[in-house]
Symmetry: D2
Subunit: 304 residues, 4 copies
């Protein structure tokens, strides 16, 4: 807190965090012979704790350098990654254990997906079914509570039919025509909160992704809201270790192009995929009775 004698105003430091963002670490596993594995993570490390002296007095005695955080990320990769979530937990526990004034933090990773070229031992190509990026966040609060949020970003999916939108309210500004057959397209961004750290994170990720894809296909969609809810519900029903899932899903409009003007019909064959504006549907599906989790999600961009 600082007092301004002239103005009599007291201002204080509120929530804060700092660290090193975008550490791109690639870990090759060659310990098991010529068949290499590759893990590709872009890691951000941010510390929470008592850093008030740095902000108010320029005293850096508590400021674990962001350069040190970077070095630690790469040093810890020496022992292997395992899963992004486990790696971030190890990182977080280190900072909390080694520095008294660090009470927690937020460690995040984006994961790039590589697959073998023709089952080759050491040659890989980026990609795979689904163009999404896997994300992971570990948050440590009060030194002892470890929260893990896994997610995916921009899993682009599209159905060419079995989607409609009717029955919405009409006011002075409503011009949209109802339809029972349209393209529905979205880039699914989702994140789910685990209630345990004692699971196989890699396997669970693949399972959740498969459920999201499968649910997208298995119903006539009356609104993106309904599809989103069904996707979340299916994940929670299949995975008791997940308490809550949040979605941010654009409605990527595909407009039937008006070919009538050229003497052509267009029975849902030719679409203009508009860039913007787009609908944006964000929602949370959670277990009944689950308490308030806002503090855990805080700082997680792009979610309601």
């Amino acid at each position: 807190m600082t007092e301004n004698a002239q103005t009599g105003i007291n201002v204080v430091l509120g929530d804060n965090q700092y660290g090193k963002a975008e550490n791109h670490v690639v870990r090759v596993t060659r310990e098991n012979g010529p068949r290499h594995e590759i893990e590709d993570l872009t890691v951000s490390s941010q510390l929470h704790g008592d850093f008030v002296a740095a902000h108010l007095d320029g005293d850096n005695a508590h400021v674990v350098a962001t350069d040190t955080q970077k070095n630690t990320v790469f040093a810890f990769a020496r022992d292997g990654i395992g899963s992004p979530e486990e790696f971030l937990i190890r990182l977080g526990e280190h900072f909390v254990a080694d520095f008294d004034w660090v009470t927690g933090g937020r460690w995040a990773a984006r994961v790039a997906k590589w697959e073998r070229i023709n089952d080759h031992d050491h040659c890989f190509v980026r990609g795979g079914s689904g163009a999404e990026t896997r994300t992971a966040v570990v948050k440590i609060v009060d030194r002892t509570q470890t929260h893990v949020i896994t997610g995916l970003k921009d899993l682009a999916v599209l159905k060419t039919t079995e989607s409609g939108f009717v029955g919405y309210p009409k006011d002075r500004y409503t011009t949209l025509a109802e339809t029972t057959d349209r393209i529905m397209a979205t880039n699914v961004t989702a994140a789910w909160l685990y209630n345990t750290t004692d699971i196989d994170f890699n396997e669970t990720y693949e399972s959740v992704k498969a459920i999201l894809l499968d649910t997208f296909t298995n119903h006539y969609s009356r609104a993106l809201q309904e599809t989103q809810y069904l996707m979340g519900k299916a994940v929670l029903e299949a995975h008791p270790e997940i308490d809550e899932i949040k979605f941010s899903m654009p409605n990527l409009h595909h407009f039937v192009y008006d070919l009538d003007r050229f003497g052509l019909d267009n029975p849902n064959l030719v679409f203009h995929a508009a860039h913007s504006p787009y609908g944006l549907i964000e929602g949370t599906i959670r277990r009944e009775g689950l308490g308030n989790t806002d503090a855990i999600w805080k700082g997680q961009a792009a979610f309601v």
Copy 2:
């Protein structure tokens, strides 16, 4: 809430919002004669309220179409923008007033900056001092509480000296050398919460920006944390209508290039401006005694 008979699991819908994102509206003022004005906003509208039937039952009776929200944005621009904040307030109040089940929402805008070419009446060039984007968010809660957050994104500033970093803790992973003379560069992203809607938002924006820039210049910086705090403190001291300001500021490292290897000295003349990783310093400066504002900031990306 849905109950799954087979599994006995109950899942419920949690926080949600939806709307139309990235409505790019350009309003030309030509009502006052040949000297035109231009306002250039990219607006997102998101509604909060009772939309549970859409998610659970595919019943859209409450779903004000995102297309309708888009139309409303453009229709409301007919009456002029005024300031981005006032425009968003008008939008928000409309949705809350006209639809019983809409209890609030989040309306946001990015503002592009145009200035006259040679003081021309109707020709403009993008840019101006500072490459930042102005941002505005209006949040309405429980129909009656209107919160306004104004901000700026990527105001890039750099000082070639009068910055250092010393006195930080050293551990096994610390290799950074102390320095009392370095380049400090950052892209300031900031957002500030008003305690009133009864101000000149455009004028206040310019004043806050000027204070941020001026404060950046007026001290020897012992850490980006200190500079950020001073910037926030100066804003709060000058503007009693602002209760809280949040920052997200990368530390964009400029490394002295090692020219010694080529027989050249380099007394802070030649720098490599690294792209990534970068430091990331995020903090809040607020009035003492201000209550918890987390609910207001919720959904605001990229802030602690």
Copy 3:
């Protein structure tokens, strides 16, 4: 040509083209029953010909509106796409045939890749093995010559070993250490020129891509130059219908992180994947005796 009486300077209009860029057309094939197909192209159309009056005199009598070009793209999609190349050829031939003063043009497309979700009839997910974007360019010159260039952009590949770099010249500014074991990573951007239009473009694309991937794996690489040459050579040997292939391949550096400072060894296990600067290797592999093709490649960005 315009003459400036005051200055006596004559300036003339040189090469020019114009059209509509970024027409995002999605064509769904539903004519064959419930098993839909999807083709997703972002098309740009640019006309060449006699447009001098528009430039010099503001006379638009020859200016086929870019809006008309857009409409034509979508209208032509009504008859199906077939392959991106065939679709662009049909477009180009139309403009040349219908407008006397249009002597040619350049039609280009980026192709988004969708694959079925669980072999579903009408649900798709973006992605697939390889994160590349397929590209196609059709150029018509003098009304009668039709050139087809197919390509791909950002096919990201990486080998964890079997790559080195030694034997390069050393001067005052050389500090790089030789290595016989490194990661080699690149995003392959390539484009190849056909000598015929009478082939199955979709099938050939898949074959070329497979050859590029396979060649990347099948040798110890002594430089990215060598790998690039081998890739191009293999394509030309397998495909007599291709006369020339051009590459733009960044050398995406993966630096062995110095863990020695922390008391750890690092036998090519932990790498820092640097964002920039990066090496950039661009080259052409072509049939011996092929004439000058510069005019065909002109306007094709990012190639030597």
Copy 4:
């Protein structure tokens, strides 16, 4: 050239270049006391010459390492930048002089614009009138010919009136309505070829930019083609040291929003600024009698 015994196919190496891209060098001038200057360039260096052995045989004896090129960029900055063009010329002449087999190359830079904060000695803010990026390319051919191309990228300009589009041909696919009053908006990307290296490049850049802006304002535009031509003509008339200028200018459509549907008029007040598709007008304005310059422009992306 390599011969494939099996297939009898001969393939040869064609045009090629290689080097290091995206070297971000910041040069601070502090030699003249406390009032610092800053120059901020992102430099790419690419060599032309005899590199056939690297491609065909993996023999790197001629391959000046891209890492060496990077070091050279930073080492040369020690002596000051001067202007981006002069800096690139110095770089290019070095490589050609020091390595027998290097016969030329292409050196390019993007320049970031910083201005003083409140006329401060060492504090700067990014931006200024015009949001464009300055670009520079130096090309050396056959060791002795040095070509300089300066340019700018994304100078966004807009006029709210004094623009129209009428008199274009109508065919089956034409639906666009004629208009004599519309918004015209574009991001000017331009590059101009000098016929000398003996000028003040910084001053000339500012002059050309001022002419482009001024010309944009001084006429009723009957098509973006006309405006582009007038801009180029004005540059060539004012600058005898410039032989040719090329433009790539999107027509960024601002559509009058149909408010009639809501009972509102819209006399060119409210516009939807569409993201895509967009018109794209590319042209060349050059001195009469100037010879073919295609070889000089080759490899310059995004120009006809």
